[in-house]
Symmetry: C2
């Protein structure tokens, strides 16, 4: 008697890409067709694109996460809470901290990591907007600085100085929330608003590289009006316990004292990628059009650790939630095809539905369906985008539970 | 023509004693009888006896303070927000940071200060439950320790270790709130409750010295049940950035690692007292029965900087809100008598209406009207006591605004 073993699909990471893959697979495949295993460090998924709010303290971190069991069908998917240590692609198994799991098909959706470009002191002294843990630590750190200010006989204004490294998407969205939050913090801790100093340092020659210049200029003027000072074309040379050293080009670096340094520039692929011996650039693997790893027909990589070229400009697409979720949809279809022994796999093409960058409460900039929007109209669109991500993964019930429904 | 100058009454400090003096004086004296000036560092009064709640984070610090203008009649009292630097009792003036003010009658109600008994490192590394500033700093510090715990690859359990120095009133009340707060913090920051360690170190041979032993034993067992470890008859020898060193008697001190050290033992009089040349013991002046300073018929001292002997046991009364408010009532009468040129001043006698020590939500111990109470009955009485302080100073409207009305 021959027992036909069901193929085992393992998804590591329950971010946008991994969770989308899982919920699509549980719809596409019958219980008898395959075994599906989802592995994640936490028992919750978090909205990476909302972390700037949790970090600034304008949205509680419990609002940016939800229990994975809310969206995963436990009759079809086994969920394992554990941390991936390494992938043994030759023996087709995932090594976990407390276990190891074999796979027939593997989806690596482990998310990215901050890229500090070797800048001295950043790892030690800068805070990140990376996950729930780092965001609430950053929020608490800023609150502690404000709480301590009035405790010191000799007032140290540097406690109220916040430097944001990076004027990309995350940096700008964080500044939008932060400038909304500062007046609240000033009231909460009896601090004079005039003493607070917010500086954004960006090495590139512009804020929000790649964004429409008209929208960029709107964003900059809005944030400047709320007290942000921009240092553009300026690189952080070093971070210290007292602040940062910056400089333009070859000029002598000078110091900006700051009680809080936030590093919001640069994402690289997950360290597990290189550790497991995949060929990668900054931890990102250039995947095949069907999202498999060249040479490994049973391994898919999606999200921040995958690299897909935008043929129009011959440069990689920046890692976003939107692209990760679209990849998840394609991977689910392709694995279903493989399980059903269909030879034809679908090629991934990114369908850019637009981008909205929040500038805090009721303000944003964006390009949606090819049209530029600013202000409250754009802020409205941002909420639509945020809710859409919830809907795509968890349907209406998740939108009602976790959605941004305060539209007006 | 002779202009009769109105006598000028200056009250420094808007704590329980100073504020009670002020509101009684504004009732007793007509606008034409005297000029009344109240000087305080902040534009708000805070409930010192509620600070343990703000420090633990179980009550927001804005709930433990109210605007002085809510209770002071501005047509009768001039309020100056400034910090007292020194009192020149020979020239009868109060030196402020930004001004100086002459007086005919002075009421010193500046409150106490933490007494660290020269223990090394306490001033630098221990947090205090002293005022609004220190309480919210302590709250934020603990939150930051919890928020940081999951950020570190090598988990440092000492971040979750909290040492409270002192098992007197403040220490015990803080422990009561803290043990209520810890489960919330564990949930908020995804921390295992079992990892949290709370230690109370007391040099005296008992918890709550002076309290009824039966009540003390109730309090200890309740707090132990919630995870507090008591080290009684044990002295803190030194505080460091990593924790404290403790020892019994002459035994070799040993270290208790702790991310948070709270010093809640010992109050001394205000430093201004000694700086201004008043004869004092630990900053407290042994006042006359009419609450005036011996040798200075125009200066009254009340509250934490005054020393009144309890004749029954021939020891000073511990400084409490209750005694400060009763002193304020007598001082207001005595100053009214002086302004009206009446020779006879009233002598202060403390009328102990009882003491209730909170053990957190819905638990307390106390002696009220001579009867011992514990549990929710005592917790109810504690709220009555708290509301009574509000009523005495600001009447019904203040109770409605700031009172603890969640009785059941």
């Amino acid at each position: 008697m021959i027992t036909l073993r069901k193929p085992k699909i393992v998804i590591v990471g329950a971010g946008y890409g991994g969770l989308m893959t899982t919920v699509r697979l549980q719809k596409l495949l019958g219980v008898n067709e395959a075994e599906i295993v989802l592995i994640n460090k936490n028992d919750y998924h978090y909205e990476t694109t909302w972390l700037h709010e949790a970090s600034a303290g304008t949205l509680h971190h419990d609002k940016v996460r939800y229990d994975i069991r809310n969206v995963v069908d436990r009759s079809k998917v086994e969920f394992i809470q554990d941390t991936v240590v390494e992938i043994n692609k030759e023996e087709k198994k995932v090594i976990l901290e407390n276990d190891q799991v074999n796979y027939d098909y593997l989806v690596i959706a482990l998310g990215g990591e901050p890229e500090t470009f070797g800048i001295k002191g950043l790892k030690e002294y800068a805070f990140g907007i990376t996950n729930v843990n780092s965001s609430r630590q950053l929020r608490e750190h800023i609150e502690y600085q404000f709480a301590t200010y009035n405790m010191e006989e000799e007032k140290n204004d540097n406690r109220l100085s916040i430097v944001v490294g990076g004027a990309g998407f995350t940096g700008i969205e964080f500044l939008g929330e932060l400038t909304n939050r500062i007046p609240e913090l000033c009231q909460e801790y009896d601090v004079d608003f005039q003493k607070v100093k917010i500086t954004c340092v960006e090495a590139a020659p512009t804020v929000l590289p790649g964004f429409d210049p008209e929208l960029v200029s709107y964003a900059v003027s809005q944030l400047e009006r709320r007290g942000v000072e921009f240092l553009i074309g300026t690189a952080i040379k070093e971070a210290t316990p007292e602040g940062i050293f910056v400089g333009k080009g070859d000029e002598e670096p000078y110091e900006i004292k700051a009680g809080t340094v936030v590093w919001a520039a640069g994402v690289r692929g997950n360290a597990i990628i290189e550790k497991s011996g995949f060929e990668a650039m900054r931890g990102r693997v250039k995947v095949q059009p069907d999202l498999r790893v060249p040479g490994f027909d049973d391994v898919f990589i999606i999200g921040d650790s995958s690299l897909v070229i935008n043929e129009e400009i011959n440069r990689p697409y920046p890692p976003t939630a939107q692209i990760a979720m679209q990849q998840g949809e394609v991977v689910a279809k392709n694995i279903t095809a493989l399980v059903r022994n269909k030879a034809e796999l679908e090629n991934f093409t990114f369908d850019n539905k637009g981008t909205v960058c929040s500038l805090g409460e009721d303000d944003a900039i964006g390009v949606v369906f090819g049209k530029k929007v600013t202000g409250s109209k754009a802020a409205f669109m941002k909420k639509v985008v945020d809710n859409r991500a919830l809907y795509m993964i968890g349907g209406t019930s998740l939108v009602l539970k976790k959605g941004k429904l305060n539209f007006f």
